[in-house]
């Protein structure tokens, strides 16, 4: 397992690893996500940088032992900066034959695979479509194999607690976690505390799990003497001093929205409807009512956004959240928010599409929907977050734009960011500039005769109309989805008026002040720039970093403000000979860049439901440089090891 993680450049000296990729894989009932989550926590507490990739089936309880029921959790951690969950695991823990079959192709040659032989029964081998047990046919020869009966060892370990075999086997994941903790020299204390808290009312279950954890740990100590198992201590990374915690994208967005509402001085109304992978935001916010949050689980996606619009109309910060298909349903109501010029934040946790698509897999294919996807000329700002930690700031930014410009804003995230965890330096809320909402309380214009009047669509310097809460004495007025007369807001279909109002809506959004685009890595001009947005940040950054270490003249630009785009982005891109745009879609941002800046943006697309591998991106970058050894040009092949085998998609 002492091979280098894929994140490091190919020509780096092969020394002790500064990063390791571990994948826990098992049946969806085996608790692999829990194991991964707790291992993540212990990694964070050990001071390593990390990134995770939970990958689980859409089915809640897929039939046991089947290929499509395999659930996996991958973590990449190290004593250096970590940008992705890692291309290929160094260590694979396979709890049953199906998990082995689905995940083995990803394992690095020479990597370590830990196998629970207790699950390698004829029946389970059949379910995994193995004719012969891979333990017997020599097919595992290119890896280090540590195969033993974890099931039996777990039953043995929890025997004193008098559990039946079925219950005892549920502690298998803790046994495995114990072994993993030993492998990376981690304390068991925090996990024991967590188990005690989790099973507070069932001390027997807590103690059984702790016994399993300890047994796995002890096994490591004993087994070290012989065989492939080695203990590795990963020193902490040198990071900026401060207070840290781990955070998932869904948590970060929820907290960012709470912070955004506070910075605006508003109460928050959140309208949602259950949908994967967006529901986590509803769940988090439902527990934060003390922060002035009202959550409303509506009867459908349309009602969720409409209720949020109603709340914004009444003076709260309306927020709604969904994923692709649900966002499609909300589309008409977004037009209403655009027409009535009310603040609203729409969080879109993108997933594979179209239609129901791949509910639990990630994709960036809603960019067209976000930027262009409404009837009429319906401009709407779009902000995208690039990592779980970044999602916090982006949520605040979306709230700021919504409130300051009286407009709906779409915040793009995706299934990967929503579920993935990373260490996060806890920010000081006071470090964000407040943007207090202002409500009109008096008439805002004069009639020809000098008397006061109300103009609900009179615009300020930003092009925003006043926010007027119903209930304010004397400011009664009507708004709606029919075209509004300039200033007065009365119904008006006149040609000149529609032209003027269309222009006003478009220009208001185009003139939104967004920060200038910065270069994430590399120079501001040169041979090649890789332009990304959203969750491709990690792999692009690592691939560009690796390529630059090879001496290639390549830069990385990562765009947060998808609409309007930063004003300097066009000139910046024109400073590069080539523009490469990797996206987990068929080339949507590429279209926007070409359209807006007339630059020859080249797409690099992937729609496998899996994030980009660093090696894929490095290969694509290499194509632009003819002095790279082993680079013959030609098409960039998608990294096959990232794809599940065909059988896995039964």
């Amino acid at each position: 397992m002492a091979t280098l993680a894929a994140e490091t450049p190919n020509n780096a000296a092969a020394a002790a690893p500064d990063a390791v990729v571990v994948r826990f894989a098992g049946d969806s009932g085996d608790g692999m996500q829990l194991t991964g989550g707790q291992f993540t926590l212990s990694t964070a507490l050990a001071g390593n940088d990390l990134a995770t990739f939970p990958d689980f089936p859409a089915e809640i309880r897929a039939p046991q032992g089947t290929l499509f029921g395999v659930s996996a959790f991958q973590i990449n951690f190290g004593s250096r900066e970590i940008n992705t969950a890692g291309d290929a695991p160094d260590v694979l823990v396979a709890m049953n034959p199906a998990a082995l079959k689905v995940n083995l192709p990803s394992l690095k040659p020479g990597g370590l695979v830990i196998i629970d032989t207790g699950e390698f029964t004829k029946r389970n081998l059949d379910k995994a479509k193995y004719d012969v047990s891979p333990l017997d046919d020599g097919s595992l020869a290119k890896w280090d194999v540590l195969a033993f009966d974890i099931s039996a060892l777990t039953i043995e370990a929890v025997k004193p607690f008098g559990l039946g075999n079925k219950d005892a086997l549920r502690s298998k994941n803790m046994w495995t976690l114990g072994l993993a903790l030993w492998m990376f020299d981690r304390p068991r204390g925090p996990i024991e505390d967590w188990l005690k808290a989790k099973f507070k009312t069932k001390p027997d279950i807590a103690n059984a799990n702790i016994a399993a954890l300890n047994a796995g740990h002890a096994y490591g100590e004993t087994a070290e003497l012989s065989g492939p198992l080695k203990q590795l201590h990963m020193p902490p990374i040198h990071t900026a001093p401060g207070l840290y915690r781990t955070i998932t994208g869904a948590e970060a967005i929820s907290l960012g929205l709470v912070a955004g509402a506070q910075l605006a001085g508003l109460k928050m109304f959140f309208g949602g409807y259950p949908i994967t992978p967006a529901s986590a935001i509803l769940h988090h916010l439902a527990r934060l009512k003390e922060f002035g949050v009202t959550t409303f689980q509506a009867e459908d996606e349309i009602a969720a956004i409409c209720a949020a619009i109603g709340a914004s109309y009444a003076g709260q910060l309306g927020i709604t959240s969904s994923s692709g298909p649900g966002i499609a349903l909300k589309t008409e109501a977004m037009g209403l928010a655009i027409m009535t010029e009310l603040p609203l934040v729409i969080v879109n946790s993108q997933r594979g599409g179209p239609s129901t698509g791949l509910p639990t897999k990630t994709e960036q294919s809603d960019l067209y929907q976000a930027v262009y996807g409404r009837n009429g000329d319906a401009p709407m700002p779009v902000v995208s977050c690039n990592s779980p930690g970044d999602a916090f700031e982006c949520a605040i930014e979306a709230c700021r734009i919504a409130v300051q410009y009286m407009t709906p804003v779409m915040l793009l995230t995706d299934g990967y960011i929503a579920n993935a965890a990373e260490p996060w330096m806890v920010p000081d809320p006071d470090s964000f500039a407040p943007f207090p909402a202002k409500f009109l309380t008096e008439k805002n214009a004069l009639n020809a005769d000098g008397s006061e009047t109300l103009l609900p669509y009179k615009r300020d310097a930003k092009g925003a109309r006043p926010w007027i809460k119903p209930g304010t004495p004397g400011l009664m007025h009507r708004i709606g989805g029919i075209e509004k007369q300039v200033d007065t807001g009365h119904i008006d279909y006149a040609p000149d008026n529609h032209q003027a109002m269309t222009d006003a809506r478009v220009n208001k959004v185009l003139d939104i002040a967004v920060p200038d685009q910065e270069v994430a890595l590399g120079g501001t001009s040169g041979k090649l720039v890789v332009v990304g947005w959203g969750s491709t940040y990690g792999p692009i950054r690592r691939a560009v970093d690796n390529s630059r270490r090879k001496g290639l003249d390549v830069s990385h630009i990562h765009v947060r403000h998808i609409w309007p785009l930063p004003k300097n982005l066009g000139p910046l891109l024109r400073g590069f000979e080539n523009v490469l745009v990797p996206e987990m879609n068929t080339g949507q941002f590429k279209t926007v860049l070409r359209d807006q800046f007339l630059v020859d943006a080249t797409p690099l697309t992937k729609t496998s439901g899996q994030p980009f591998a660093i090696t894929e991106l490095e290969a694509a970058i290499g194509k632009y440089f003819d002095n790279i050894e082993g680079n013959e040009g030609g098409d960039v092949a998608v990294n096959e090891t990232q794809l599940p085998s065909p059988e896995a998609e039964v």
Partner: protein, 349 residues
């Protein structure tokens, strides 16, 4: 909302300067006037009143009311109104919808606003036709309705708005019609009800479905065709000139309503039912009572309040907030954290 402060207004105070754009002779005019006449009598405050509508002829209503108004999108007014009410429970909300807006495209939202019991008055103008789109059959159109989309006559079975409302869990169900002099009383009862108050208002579309309600709404013979329900009063009807000589009684064997003759005003011995607005079982029979063999049941059919949705939301918020630490900095730092000291760590290679 709780007890509101009554203020003095006149009908004029509730009129906007906008030209009313309904067809001349449309029943909507009468309803608009009835509402504008009723609100001053209730002591309502225009600044605290919000009219929210969907799409259709009826949904233009807010533009003519000098109150806050939100003309939303087709079918979604109940959802928007729910958000408004939750954000500011003190607002007095009137929802205006039609048979297409409220029962076809917006049927789902109508069901849920009633089920949740969000405190507002819901006026569903039922003209049994799509007017603004030029006369297609609607979900309340009678079987056989000939229209541009049903040239040989419609064959789908019409929805019954009051039965729908009651079935969805409404705690206030009433009926009236555009030109009825009793409409203001129905509106007042709806306003007095704490919770979602559903009012079906038959409305004459003089262009696409002219006089379709004349069989019971026409003044001539109205006494025999209209059963105006009043709390605590026997369910009597008939020509007022000759005396109310018919009543509604319960056929206990069939467990159904029946029409009985009342001789010499002795409704008791005829077994005529006394209207109890809280009797849900009888309400179910009244909303299903077919016109023809029976008169049209009008007035307040059912009125039995229970806690409103916004009361639940407020109560839950109170419970959630009790004893909680409301500090954003501490919230952000919640869970298991670790501190990286300035001197610690290893250099990046």
């Amino acid at each position: 909302m709780n007890e509101m402060t009554k203020i003095e207004t006149t009908l004029k105070d509730w009129e906007t300067d906008q030209e009313v754009r309904w067809c001349p002779g449309c029943g909507d005019y009468a309803i608009l006037k009835a509402v504008q006449r009723t609100l001053p009598q209730l002591g309502c405050d225009p600044s605290n009143t919000v009219f929210i509508s969907g799409i259709g002829c009826s949904s233009r209503f807010p533009y003519y009311m000098e109150t806050y108004g939100f003309h939303t999108i087709h079918g979604r007014a109940p959802a928007v109104a729910t958000g408004v009410k939750l954000a500011n429970p003190d607002l007095d909300i009137w929802l205006v919808t039609g048979d297409g807006d409220g029962l076809s495209i917006g049927g789902n939202h109508m069901m849920h606003v009633l089920r949740r019991n969000v405190n507002m008055q819901i006026m569903l103008f039922n003209n049994e036709i799509y007017g603004l789109t030029k006369g297609q059959a609607s979900p309340t159109s009678r079987e056989g309705t000939k229209s541009p989309s049903t040239p040989l006559g419609s064959y789908d079975h019409p929805a019954r708005p009051c039965a729908f409302a009651l079935g969805a869990g409404a705690r206030f169900v009433a009926r009236g019609f555009d030109v009825s002099k009793n409409l203001p009383d129905v509106l007042k009862a709806a306003h007095a009800h704490q919770g979602a108050a559903f009012i079906e208002i038959f409305q004459n579309c003089i262009v696409y479905n002219k006089d379709v309600f004349d069989d019971f709404a026409a003044p001539k013979g109205a006494g025999d065709r209209q059963l105006w329900l009043e709390q605590g009063q026997p369910m009597l009807f008939g020509d007022p000139k000759t005396g109310l000589d018919k009543g509604i009684a319960l056929d206990t064997e069939a467990l159904a309503l029946k029409v009985v003759d009342v001789v010499d005003g002795d409704w008791q011995s005829a077994g005529v039912l006394v209207h109890d607005v809280t009797n849900r079982a009888v309400a179910h029979m009244l909303v299903e009572m077919p016109f023809g063999p029976f008169p049209m049941a009008l007035g307040v059919l059912y009125d039995d309040p229970r806690p409103t949705f916004e009361e639940g939301v407020i109560e839950e918020r109170g419970r959630s907030v009790a004893g909680k630490d409301v500090n954003l900095a501490r919230l952000l730092a919640k869970g298991q954290t670790w501190t990286v000291e300035a001197s610690e760590g290893h250099p990046v290679d």
